[in-house]
Subunit: 352 residues, 4 copies
């Protein structure tokens, strides 16, 4: 069906664990990417089957799912945390550049892994080398990286929303992050939690005792905050939709720093300047809905100031599987390959 | 179909504007209420039709929709704000007790009406008489009231969540209220906002410049707060489901007031004590989902303390059309009639 | 919360396998039934827990889930097929009347069990005694029955739609039944098929090679068809909603039997007469939506004739868990106990 | 954001009525098409606004919506029926090739317009010239056409499902078509029918008295049926999802024509041969779900024979806005421009 012809030699990429929702979205995006070729895909329970047997909509990808991926130029690792780290080490040792979708190389402080993820990190020496793959903040570091730690979906939506405030010292050190995610964030394995009848017509908060994405958010906010240690209250919510994250963040204004006349318009200008050259970030003039980014790599941000209470309220939205996972990984790959950053990510949101 | 027999003389009730979602839910609940009889219902565009013509599931209610309701003992007024006030005045003048579902008699300070609702109140003298119809707080006042102002759906979920904190001076005066509502809260009139294709698979924040339920929340919190003026940051979200509100509230702990050892368990005990005799409030031990109250008059509350940040995070959930509107109105009626408060409201949540 | 007082001595009922969607719905309905008392409930994986631990919305039912039910007057058996039969036999042997929700006693011909359900029936001698629990057709037989086989959800919607045609010889012997069911029909056990992300925004046909409800439908149609053996083409569809079945049936008109002037209006009259005293069946004058019966025990039927093609097209809808399972079981129980048939089933559909 | 460079001179295309769901989908697809340039878009209520003001996700399309479109090479007309015809005539008179999405040029017999659409056709002389834009059947005629009548969404799913049967005389002349469509098929104008709360958790049949797509289906089936006049019973259903159509067709086997041994496998082979070179049609080996084509231009077909009843049951599925409207229109444009037929339509279905 595709009319692409292999003119120049394409970069060979591999997907480890294609059978999860991120793996399958990587396959969709990479299949149409003009500069790469999906050379190898691996899976666990589905090893031995053709891609199209497991995912009919991907039947044009004429590959067998193997238990390990073959030699490639770049590997995307879409395994669960803890399972990912040893595979990443093994790939790096073969000279393969890696974009890891799991959390295994996102945290710089290895003592956080036992606390938040329940395992002792097997390769702590790689944590400083790994680059946190948020292109809007670390583009230069990503370009030459051997190992990119692709950010979590919640942190992507929260950090992009808060970075301009943190960088400019506009807020106090405590932020409240109220995130609403679609069900695909819970993964493809069936469970009562993801059963249609339990989730449809229902919204709930979870992980109030502390979600694993919290240290990642605090680590990255600290990067900007000039020595102040930020603390975050973070409450994720399971929302009855397949895709999308909408995050509403609240923080007190640093009124010492800013003048009386600083208002929502000033804030929008500041955000516009901060992200002016970013192809995937748009500052919007009315509250965004998650549908406006459905299927695309865009992040929409709506910054406001509540003068009554001297707080900023920032709403941001992404597609959790695209900008929150697979799309961002492709964006990172483009940077690593010195390709235009939007290559293969031009699709607009699907509406309605 | 019903086997109820009119043993004792029943109380005659009327529903003004039966054709909205609250009106139709009132009809459903009151039809099966053993002590009352729906004697008259009015509507605007549907006047002249039978109830069952407009709402097939209510065809057992053998009444014609009229343009005005007849003489009844108690009237439920389910009109939009501003339209409600003159009708309420007229009913009161006829000696009819009124439960007003609109916002027209909720605020005590009449200067708030021009600011938040855009009209000058036509009967400010009634504002002090009107009782705010939250039975858990004003049961005694409701019992003898001539006019009950039924609370808004968002305020019900927020005030019930925060009342124990405010009453016990456990929090600072600023609260953040992040609410997620189903689409029925937007009413039955078609609009692009409520179009299935615009709303399905999408969540959005709205009214960031200030939602009309805000002054109502602040007014009621102030009632408890011993002279401190509370301020609230309130952000409602439109969620892709028909019914339900889930509200997550955040407030800083008043650490002067409470000891180091005060923790989530202490808070749960305090909430349990505060609401111990309430038939429609339950303190739950895991985060509730809105589906757990679907179709019922229950409010579930999950109180927690985030020790890392010294904040309380309280999650509450109600069915916006039942405890958030029609069910609460029936509860108020029961109190006004000295009936057991749960009469006609015994239905459990529908699951799944 | 309930204000019911145990005036007369109540009938003791038990629910075998309360933890499935039908079991939990039985609990909801029976809890508010004024003439019965839930005396015992059993479950498998949840044995030893309180009902409210597993289902928070049922926490008013103060019972422990046991591995077997205690002595009761009537037992509802909500086990999967094949597992049900031996339990039913054991209960009958204890003198307990049984309403079996499974398919194990619905078919009269025991040779159909190996063919359609893959097991040899362990108690074929009970098949002739068991009464097919469709009250509209077998009310008299149900009243004195020791064992009622509660119909399947699809058959209920199809047989009620077709019975007036079959009885009056208005159609040929081949019928096409195109049914659309909500996801709860697939049960509460998690699977990829019922995963929210797989089911939402998707509709599919299944079991085209022959669904297990087919012989049940043909058996009951044959009952009416005066010696003609009916054959049915039956295709069920999985629809992205929690509850509800809408069935569209197609059959050629028996033009020998009916006059030229017989039209849709004549057909509606015929249906109206056929079901005139039925509290749970309503012939409607515009195409029904499944939402119009959501949560209620009603069946709506819309009969039409397509003159262009000389076919009848009948649309019927039920709530698959109520009239298609638990509600119909309670209706059967009422008949067995000589109670008014609508007792405990008066709730109107929930809208919106 | 896009990295496309205008190497060769691009074809200038226009979209009449961009503000409906088909118009906006055309914009999404054409914006990324490498060989065309969206040169002009028109709308009615939104004239004077920028595209991005009305549809934020299309803000990269830097055009003002005008009341009429400018001179272009090809125009897509996405107006409602009756409104479309005069606009099409006017565009043709300017020498612009037209792809009309409405029904105004689909029917060859002009007497059908008053009967089914309620208006007298203003340009009946064009009906014979207009080519029915189903590429799988009329590819040659489309290539040189001045006016293409893009098929309806239901007819596309039904005709593609039935064409191999009709062409090979495998079925009798009566077919039953039971179609289930997502809500976007009802258009973007708000109405009670498309209100989220009315549609969610509900399925319904409609237009049982005769849907407007019926004559279109019969016309095209007749094309194949060697002089036999086909008649169709067609019942559309409104399904709670945004996109997608799943159609289940039933027809009696022409047992004179086919041998005893002809079975489902034989039928699959016949379908595979019939559509072997079609890039957008896939014969699948298990029942398809509408999600498998979500956002793509594919049509999946699952052909079966029910030996018990000697009927064929064919299940087909498309995305109603893509292969059922905008995608098919782009496919037609590609043929008209002698481009590879898949250009701009390579996107795979979005999953989950």
């Amino acid at each position: 069906m595709t009319t692409l012809t292999a003119s120049a030699k394409k970069v060979r990429v591999g997907i480890v664990n294609i059978t999860g929702y991120v793996g399958v979205e990587l396959a969709r995006l990479l299949f149409l990417h003009p500069q790469v070729e999906i050379a190898s895909v691996s899976g666990r329970s589905s090893a031995g089957k053709k891609v199209g047997e497991v995912f009919p909509h991907l039947s044009l990808i004429d590959l067998e799912i193997t238990s390990e991926i073959a030699e490639v130029d770049i590997a995307f690792v879409a395994l669960p945390h803890k399972e990912s780290a040893p595979v990443v080490v093994s790939l790096l040792n073969k000279g393969i550049r890696v974009i890891d979708i799991s959390a295994d190389f996102r945290l710089k402080d290895n003592t956080l892994y036992p606390e938040w993820y329940g395992f002792i990190h097997p390769a702590p020496e790689l944590l400083s080398e790994a680059v946190y793959g948020l292109p809007e903040l670390y583009r230069n570091e990503i370009s030459g990286a051997r190992l990119v730690a692709n950010p979590g979906c919640y942190p992507t939506s929260a950090i992009l929303a808060l970075a301009p405030l943190a960088k400019n010292s506009l807020i106090g050190n405590h932020v409240i992050i109220d995130s609403k995610s679609g069900v695909s964030g819970a993964g493809r394995s069936p469970s009562l939690k993801t059963h249609y009848c339990e989730t449809n017509e229902s919204i709930s908060a979870y992980a109030l005792e502390g979600h694993r994405h919290l240290p990642e958010i605090e680590q990255e906010l600290a990067y900007f905050m000039h020595g102040t240690k930020p603390v975050a209250t973070f409450v994720p919510h399971l929302t009855p939709m397949t895709r999308g994250i909408l995050t509403t963040t609240y923080a007190s204004l640093n009124t010492k720093q800013i003048s009386e006349s600083f208002d929502t318009e000033s804030l929008k200008t500041l955000y516009g300047d901060f992200y002016q050259d970013e192809p995937f970030i748009k500052i919007v003039s009315s509250p965004p809905s998650s549908k406006q980014v459905w299927g695309s790599n865009m992040c929409l941000i709506y910054p406001t100031i509540d003068k009554r209470t001297n707080h900023t309220v920032i709403v941001s939205t992404i597609d959790n599987i695209v900008k929150g996972a697979a799309g961002q990984a492709v964006q990172n790959m483009n940077i690593m390959l010195a390709l235009p950053e939007t290559t293969g990510l031009e699709s607009l949101a699907i509406y309605p």
